[in-house]
Point group: C2
Chain length 399, copies 2
């Protein structure tokens, strides 16, 4: 069916979400079934305000530049929709002849897409809704991984490798370093710091994921042991760590009215862990909390990720034009010794409301490390990493 | 005079301090006057323990790899010296025939070098002492800039550019972001975030340096105004900000016995500023604190910096072999439209005990920005930066 297309970006920006956007535009330009190509500014917030942009007017040169630009060029939101909002959006779709709704985002965005898909069906309004996966958290089900995640993994692999060399060098003055990673509910991002290691014994020495309850006494014993053995310790910890009672370790910060979702403020795990180490072990500790920088680095992004982010956007347009909707695009890993992926699609109701945690087989029995099965999963997504040198043992024999 | 050489690294690691070390080794290998080439592990700590390495045994391939490796391959320390330590070191020098002492570091390392220089003179022991500048803080006097600084500046230029695009995109949910930079006593590192801007109005919108007292009410008024005008705010703040009474904003964290210098723990400015914004303006705020990651990134390092770090190391050996000592090597900027630098040397007593703050002419009258004179100073040191795109205005006209 001929109709207009609207595309939006939602949730946290990533290094490659503009690649998905550009793919949607470039693919849409190839299909006669698609008339106008609208972009919504700041996700559904812009849609509700009809703050739309005409993406046919973006030059092909600009599209190529945008494809390499991190963050989200249309702007995003984390806003949910009320019932009135849904009805208002349906009226806007009808008034503007919009038949294709493509929404690039994570769990919340898939839920929004599903609501619009269902409402359109109720109203017998022909609308093809496709969710395009994007989340650094890697927590969408039904897809091998999520565009955006391999790039944050690569950023952390390189940056923790470097931060580990730093701690190794200055361990005499600053022996304990905590790297606080993103990851509110899952440990995928924290787990990826394991890529930093060039050889056994390298940083990170301890990796803590929200999938396992954090036990203070065990943590202190682990830090004390590594410090005794190596003289320095690098700890990677997800921001969303929870204790044995299921309480966020760092949820004690004051709630803020301005948080539209009323969520607790995260970002304090690094400080909490340093405080534990300094108080109970009397060892100096500091933390690095790269925050949003880890998710929007273009220069350290993964090539596989940038290419896949483009392909899921492209496939989404083809899916919609082929008359399929109510789905989320996925990435499917092919079997074989060389990494290859294809795109697929799953019904939105199999995705929404679920969350993919790091599975048991990826977490070491110790609870503070990952397994080789995890390394096999993550390595091909991240690509080659810089190799750094250390003084050869020959030069380190006492003289 | 023929004799053995010893070289060490001291203080915080940087992206390019191994380039200086490799330069010392490669240059020393060219001079017949130099016998053994010793490296001290962990600075003067290793020297006192005679934990030394034989740098003639490092292969030329390994040297090339080390040159590109961030952090400090020999290990560093922040330890000072007691009088007994100085005497012990002089005995080690005599026993091992060490005539050349090269120490790569910042203010503390220059002070150590000066003490050894003076003590050797007292003892009429021929010793050529050279300090090789290295500090991301850029706070050594008598040099145009310090090796290590241009690379942290480039890291922040790129990362704050990206973090700024992130805040611009998700300002509807996360409107205020603080980027906490290094810089205990000076604002050079924080100032360099100004390089992030591609055009007027880009992040960072407010830059706070320790050179100007931080006034809470003025800060809140500035944040409120930028938020009203733009909908989002990115604030760059040095970790060492002080209030009108000269108190560190973030010195309230508990003192820790394990800090060998008894210094207050920094790193809390981001949290303090977010708390101010959330409490008084009721606007959600978060902070990025890249910590040690900003100082040891090889992939985002400055080419000029890597090349100059090598040249000061090379020049130090030539200076020592030529029979000059008691000096620190410097970088001298040549006049002219194209950036060029040469190396120089100044007596250590003109360097030690002084600290170079960001001068008045580099700080904007508002107190929360830098001047164009500063931009002229910093740009050539950092080199080209990635250019990122935004949707063209044509595509943003209402439709």
């Amino acid at each position: 069916m001929r109709g207009n297309l609207i595309v939006g970006q939602s949730g946290g920006p990533t290094a490659v979400v503009n690649a998905s956007l550009v793919a949607v535009i470039q693919e849409a330009l190839r299909h006669d079934a698609i008339g106008e190509i609208y972009g919504m500014r700041f996700g559904v917030l812009g849609l509700l305000r009809e703050d739309l942009v005409d993406l046919r007017r973006v030059s092909s040169e600009m599209l190529e530049e945008l494809r390499r630009t991190p963050s989200a060029a249309l702007g995003t939101s984390r806003a949910g929709l009320g019932d009135d909002d849904v009805d208002r959006i349906m009226r806007i779709f009808q008034a503007r002849g919009i038949r294709y709704f493509l929404y690039i985002g994570g769990n919340g965005s898939a839920a929004t897409a599903l609501r619009l898909h269902r409402r359109a069906a109720d109203l017998r309004y022909d609308l093809w809704v496709i969710a395009i996966p994007k989340t650094i958290d890697n927590d969408l089900v039904e897809t091998d991984h999520c565009p955006g995640h391999p790039s944050v993994a690569r950023w952390l692999a390189v940056s923790v490798r470097e931060a580990g060399l730093d701690t190794e060098a200055i361990g005499t003055a600053d022996p304990v370093k905590v790297v606080e990673t993103m990851g509110r509910h899952t440990g995928w991002v924290a787990a990826s710091t394991a890529l930093a290691r060039q050889r056994e014994g390298d940083a990170p020495h301890l990796i803590y994921l929200p999938e396992r309850p954090f036990v203070r006494q065990r943590f202190l014993a682990d830090v004390e042991r590594v410090h005794r053995e190596r003289g320095h310790v690098l700890i990677a910890a997800a921001e969303g760590l929870v204790d044995e009672r299921g309480q966020f370790l760092a949820a004690s910060q004051r709630p803020v009215e301005a948080d539209p979702l009323g969520r607790p403020q995260f970002g304090g795990v690094g400080a909490v862990l340093c405080d534990l180490v300094m108080t109970h072990l009397q060892i100096k500790a500091r933390f690095d909390k790269p925050g949003t920088m880890q998710r929007v680095s273009a220069l350290l992004s993964s090539r596989v990720d940038a290419e896949e982010a483009y392909r899921v956007g492209q496939a989404a347009v083809r899916e919609a034009v082929a008359g399929r909707g109510g789905t989320m695009m996925t990435l499917v890993r092919e079997r074989g010794p060389v990494y290859r992926s294809t795109t697929g699609a799953v019904p939105l109701d199999r995705v929404v409301g679920d969350i993919r945690r790091v599975p048991e087989e990826f977490i070491a029995p110790s609870g503070y490390d990952v397994t080789s099965a995890y390394m096999d999963y993550i390595r091909p997504l991240v690509g080659p990493l810089p190799q750094y040198a250390r003084l050869a043992p020959a030069a380190r024999t006492p003289i």
